[in-house]
Amino acid sequence: MIDPGRITMFWVIATLSLAMLPQLLRMPLPVAAFALFPLTWRVAAEWRGWKPLPKLLRHSLTGLALVVLFISYGNLSGRRAAVSLLTLMLALKLVEGYRIRDARLVVSFSLFLCATQFLFGQGIVMPVYGMVTVIVALVALTRLQRNEAWAHQDGRAPAVRASFFSELSFGLRLLAVAAPVGLAFFLLFPRLGSPLWGIPDTTLDSKSGLSDSMSPGSIQQLFMDDSPAFRVTFEDAAPAVSELYWRGPVFWRFDGRTWKGSFYGTNVQAIEQPAVAGAPWSYTVQLEPNERKWLFALDYPATTPADARLTLDYQLIRRDPVIQLLQYSVVSNPAFVDTPRLPVTLRAQALDVPEGSNPRTRLLIDRWRRETPGDRELVRRALEYFNQNPFNYSLNVPMLGQHSVDEFLFETRTGFCEHYASAFAVMMRMAGIPTRIVTGYMGGWYNPLGDYYLVRQSDAHAWTEVWLPDAGWARVDPTAAVSPSRVQQGSLGALSAPRHLLDYRWLRRARNSIDIVQQRWNDWVIEYGARQQARLFAPLGLDRATPAMLVSLLFAAIVLFGAILVPIVMRIRGPGRTDPIQIAWRRFLRRLETAGFAPRASRGAMEMATEASEILPHAATSIRHIAELYTRCRYAPGVQPLAELQAAVKEFRPSRNPA
């Protein structure tokens, strides 16, 4: 059994820890704790020289880990569960692995684990973190290689005078020299047009953003989430911020508490698509992965992105969930009459309210309906009602009971966009006006540097659409009636109190500005694909980049880099440094040589100085001085006069012997 040695083992453990950390933060607490335990144990065991755990205990630990994993996730088919499984097994390998092979297994799988973290996010910080992990892994592998070479002496490899930093910098040197080739591969390696296999829906377990139903509190949750939902770049003109209603899931059915989509609404194609001609808004959306299928667009999308369809209620639904940063372009035409004639089935669905619920609202609406016959007037009256009564736009919403709309309208009067939208929709339906709820995002933060709009999860919004006989579905935002600032200043501007401790306006502003880095990263790196490859070669007059062309370019690039890189590689210093005394001494010998004295390697320092003095008598003093210093550095106990030696050698410039 060849033990890799304590220090090497620490490097191995460090590699695993770095690779694990981002995953640990995403894991349920018991699983994370279970993954940390073997790691900590091994560190302590190496430190204190503990014996390996008994076999039975190790096996039961593995069994227990599987049980914890299963209980925490329910099944093991999800991506997260799979990553957790890998993490746990690697951590447990530390409890039983004492050979170089095991250590190498842990390091190489750690690199694999490091790659899996990119499935969950490819933010700008991740590559830097990944690089650090790679460098530490390189150090661990270098050390393991040394231990293996000295395996015949139980892996006790002699130190190469390698300090902590020289080992790290060796890793860094490897990385730096390899980077250009890696980059060439990245740019030129042909990409798949379509995936070889898709991700089954069951593996998606980190859904975020708007969901396929709306109940009190569901959007409020999003409101606390400041992560970006998507970024939008307009081709030319952009609408006013108060007009930026990003349409997402549309809901028709209401059971008194929860709003849900309708079968027709989500499964039937749009009857008519708005005309592209004259559509003023053309833009590209960069959607952060949310593992859901909705694509967000302004009303009304005149074009449909690839792999998506436009439904009857003008939702854009993608065939597969968005698991990667997704970029799509849409043209929107607001001047479009949505469904001028409403079919009976849809009408019935858009008027349905649960029987016997919210009796007080029913009374109020009945009274209004008697007094106000026109639909438009009734809508206006309801909005005025919200506007003139003391309604509050706030995060602190009391729980609502069975007759949620009654309680909201007459008692609490405090709510969030979803409460207003829900209450308004119920009121309109009671009045016989077909109404549906639209969720999505409202507004966006314009970044002048990058000329794009940043929409965060906290910009999630819910509004309503009423159907009017002459105008089709028309947007009505009851929240705007209560709190006009929500629409004008964005969701956060409308709040009087900060959401949490660090919720300052300047901080939000700073963060929004910094977002441009992430946007650029997304644009240039994450979104890089077949299309960008083609664009890269447009200046060369190649309008299409075929795989064969890319591969030949790749080879050309490698040959080109090779010509430049090989000489550099051949000069890379290994870990460890050369003895400074030796460096100074060799420099001295070189200078002697230029002065005409050829030193013989077999001579001792003092002996050689004597010989040199005979040939170069004019420099005899300094030659003897340097030889003495060197001998003292080498052999005399106590403080080494290294600095003196270096200075003396630096000043030593003997001229050739004139004789």
Binding site: R101, A115, L119, Q145, A149, V160, A178, V525, G574
Partner: protein, 326 residues
């Protein structure tokens, strides 16, 4: 402890490959004269098993990254791949230019293990890391400092007396990550003298038949003979200090070895029997006589060494026995 790992963790396929390569090198280059400089055409680079496994892992990561169009994963894979490729150069560079200066071996007795000292010189201004010398059943390893030499020891079984040819060995390294192995095959013209194995139960030393005739052999010996004036070259321990002090002049003790205590080792007097057994017994006698400080002569068919003592004489005798050819 040289007999370890190398042989143990090599697979049959690898062994077959090594043998094939050795045949090839033998055909192309044959045995080489020293010093041998490891040049680019002598150095082979192949992935190790860990390297192959690493490639598979990278392949899996690349397929995943391509399938999900996950550019960060691809970036990582390409970077790691480039680093791996880079290490082929580093492993090669760690070896190229090293000079095999000499291979030395001290004689051993049959049945012992012969030790070949391989002297490697690093003529350049850079470190060489973890350079290994690997034979079929032995390996040794060391770093070489800039412009310095390294002595690696390779042991080899010495089963029979005579010349033991050193088997071919490799100078190799897996620097820096253990993903690739760069090596060079050396077929050395080095040999080690193997003396006959001394018989464990040899009969007593034969006494010389003519031993009582002639004057005793003066000079070194155990028996005191007399005093004489000090002459240059007399060992210090021979000086008779007390006598010298008394006479204000240096005197040396003269020693002698009685003639009758010398012994004559004669092949022809050993009777008939197995040649190797006879050689074994003779070797044992040589050692025994040398141990007891008895001068001994050796007569073999075609060669004879007069009675003498000392390491040189012993080695000459043993060499005669080792190379005996009937």
């Amino acid at each position: 402890m040289n007999t370890l790992a190398a042989a143990r963790d090599r697979r049959p396929a690898e062994r077959r490959f090594d043998r094939w390569l050795l045949d090839r090198v033998q055909r192309l280059r044959g045995a080489v004269d020293l010093p041998l400089v490891l040049e680019y055409r002598h150095i082979y680079v192949m992935p190790t098993r860990f390297g192959a496994w690493f490639a598979v892992l990278l392949g899996l990561m690349a397929i995943g990254g391509l399938n999900f169009n996950n550019n960060m994963t691809l970036l990582l894979v390409f970077l790691l791949g480039s680093i791996a490729l880079l290490t082929t150069l580093l492993a090669y560079r760690n070896l190229v230019g090293i000079t095999v200066n000499a291979i030395l071996a001290k004689p051993v007795f049959a049945g012992e293990r012969a030790t070949f000292d391989v002297l490697l010189k690093n003529p350049e201004e850079r470190h060489r890391f973890a350079i290994q010398a690997v034979a079929s059943e032995a390996l040794d390893c060391g770093d070489i400092e800039p412009q310095n030499t390294l002595r690696l020891r390779i042991e080899q079984d010495a089963p029979r007396r005579g010349w033991l040819e050193m088997e071919p060995f490799r100078i190799e390294n897996r620097f820096p990550l253990g993903l690739f192995r760069a090596w060079s095959v050396v077929i050395p013209k080095a040999r080690c003298l193997v003396y006959p194995k001394p018989a464990a139960h040899a009969p007593p030393l034969p006494k010389s038949g003519r031993g009582d005739q002639g004057a005793p052999h003066k000079g070194d010996g155990e028996h005191f003979h007399g005093l004489r004036e000090y002459q240059q070259g007399d060992p210090l321990r021979r000086i008779a200090w007390r006598t010298s002090a008394r006479h204000q002049k240096l005197y040396s003790r003269e020693m002698e070895t009685p003639r009758d205590e010398s012994c004559e080792l004669n092949w022809y007097l050993m009777g008939t029997g197995n040649v190797e057994e006879k050689l074994s017994i003779l070797a044992a006698w040589v050692l025994r006589a040398e141990n007891r400080h008895i001068p001994y002569s050796l007569e073999m068919p075609g060669a004879a060494l007069p009675a003498d003592r000392g390491e040189q004489h012993r080695d000459a005798c043993l060499q005669l026995l080792a190379l005996f050819n009937d």
